[in-house]
């Protein structure tokens, strides 16, 4: 089959590789029809995620048809159209039984490797480094999906494959970001990053009752999308001091919830601290750039909630613990719990509360994926998220 293989920093190649086969009884083989590229893939592309090998198949947002089903699969049969969660849960362990699928005890075959970094292993993720299991990824013609009864969901009549591809990872991540805020209605929510994940946080915060949504980014067309599609007020962090502006926009109270949808490669917002983080990241002294998290801690109201959905992998310096402590902030974060949300997001889509495909701005074929990475990375052609048609 053809598959997108990570070669090195900034090099992804489509190559011929063997087809996957059923290995375990709960597996299905998916014939991938649609997939996409995530901000997390950009972290791989930029070489800031440890544990990648030359030739690894990447991608974690699969939609397709069941080609073959293992002997213990109960929910799916050959020919079913399904969307598959990027995060792999076994469905049986303590965490999966609590719907905390991204903390699954059992789905990471490289537990021995990952626990050296995080003490306890976390869930496997398709195509997302050997630390997260070394599973082949979804930017390929076929994909072996383990524990398919847990992670694969039949796509209801009335939901397009384009919509479904956004419900494998980006929308559930955004939704979980809003969910972790514990909104009761009427809150002011600020979202750093107006990429696909951030835009889904904004839409979800509205669905869950936030009164005011404010987007922070520096890419004009993305801020425009936030205004037009999500009813957000917008702030360009290169034009204003974000913390002061947010304090004034909330008449001295500060926002109730601050959500990071940027991750460890966030651009500097302050010339000095930004340069400090970039240099440290470049020489690997500090793996992750932390200025968005620092800014959220500064800006948040006392007793407010900080939610981190952008991905971090190792260390961040100069963490303003004193401000966080004295303001009594709550922190929520993590990889998203896909299977907890997918059916619910299908329902919102069917009810017409949201059309998740709004973010798919550019379309490519699998063979064109190296170019798709460049467009998404360089934010050309007003790209928010790409759709990759596989077959």
């Amino acid at each position: 089959m053809r598959a997108a293989c990570w070669q090195d920093k900034h090099t992804v190649e489509v190559r011929n590789v063997p087809d996957p086969e059923i290995v375990n009884p709960h597996d299905i083989i998916l014939k991938v029809t649609h997939t996409t590229i995530c901000g997390s893939d950009l972290h791989l592309y930029d070489g800031v995620v440890p544990g990648m090998s030359k030739g690894d198949i990447i991608g974690h947002e699969p939609v397709g048809e069941v080609e073959e089903a293992g002997s213990a699969v109960g929910k799916h049969k050959v020919g079913d159209r399904v969307a598959v969660s990027s995060v792999i849960g076994c469905g049986r362990c303590f965490y999966c039984r609590n719907q905390e699928f991204s903390m699954c005890d059992n789905s990471n075959p490289n537990a021995w490797m990952q626990e050296k970094v995080y003490t306890y292993p976390t869930a496997g993720i398709f195509g997302y480094s050997h630390l997260f299991g070394g599973y082949p990824g979804a930017q390929a013609e076929y994909l072996r999906v383990p524990y398919a009864d847990v992670g694969a969901f039949s796509i209801p009549e009335g939901i397009s494959s384009e919509q479904a591809v956004c419900i494998t990872d980006a929308f559930p991540t955004g939704f979980m970001g809003a969910d972790l805020c514990g909104l009761k209605g009427g809150e002011t929510v600020v979202v750093w990053g107006a990429g696909p994940v951030g835009l889904f946080v904004m839409k979800s915060a509205r669905l869950l009752g936030a009164e005011r949504v404010i987007a922070v980014d520096n890419i004009p067309y993305r801020l425009e999308t936030a205004r037009e599609q999500c009813g957000a007020e917008t702030l360009d962090f290169t034009e204003t001091g974000v913390t002061d502006t947010l304090r004034e926009m909330t008449a001295g109270r500060g926002p109730d919830c601050c959500i990071d949808a940027c991750g460890m490669e966030a651009h500097g917002t302050n010339a000095f601290v930004g340069a400090y983080d970039a240099v440290k990241q470049a020489v690997m002294l500090e793996n992750d750039r932390g200025h968005v998290v620092r800014q959220m801690i500064e800006a948040c109201r006392k007793g407010g909630t900080i939610v981190i959905m952008g991905v971090y992998s190792l260390f961040v310096d100069k963490f303003p613990l004193g401000a966080a402590f004295n303001k009594g902030l709550t922190f929520r974060m993590g990889q998203m719990h896909g299977p907890k949300y997918i059916q619910r997001l299908f329902d919102y889509t069917l009810q017409g509360k949201i059309d998740p495909s709004f973010c798919l701005t550019n379309k490519f074929l699998l063979n064109e994926i190296p170019h798709a990475y460049e467009v998404f990375k360089k934010r050309t052609d007003n790209c928010v998220k790409v759709l990759v048609k596989v077959s």
Binding site: M1, A3, C5, E13, R15, V17, P18, D19, P20, E21, V23, N24, P25, H26, S53, K54, G55, D56, I57, A72, C90, G91, R92, C93, F94, D105, N106, S107, N108, P109, N110, A111, W112, M113, E115, P121, G124, G133, G134, Y135, P136, A140, R144, P146, Y147
Partner: protein
Amino acid sequence: MASRHRYNVCTKRSITIHKSPEELYHAWRDPGKLVNFLSGAAEVSVLDDRRSLWISDIPGKGCVSWEAEIITDRTDKSLSWRTVNTTGFGHTGSVHFAAAPNSLGTEVGLEVCTRITGGRLGKAVAKMLGRSPEDYVSQTLHNFKQLMETGEVATNKGPSGREKAPVEQCGQGGAL
């Protein structure tokens, strides 16, 4: 009997599995089940009720074989064994099962004692290669938990565009 002196490095780890001590003890007592989760195990033949012959792919050592002989056997509680006639990875081992608090299942403790030559340097090298005795013990426990909780051992077996590293074929079964 292997002396402590001979097997100079002991590694102990534990894990909690959402099954009863009885189920877990019986799975470990049955070489036909054990072969599915013992890290690297490729093949086993049962010699008698206490002895079995193993062929295994041990990281850093390649394909080795040994006879395992059960020394103590306390039904539903613990097992211990030693190896004889080894071509590598001579060791002693023991596993304990005890009910976990709060209905969380069973706490399983596994200890393996091996001989690592070259003292501290040898240990450091084994660590650097990424597959030390700790990794063997840890992965065996994770495999055991995966199999008992989900019915299968998690694997990333599948295609890639990586250059094929030469793999030593160990026995007929697929090494985990």
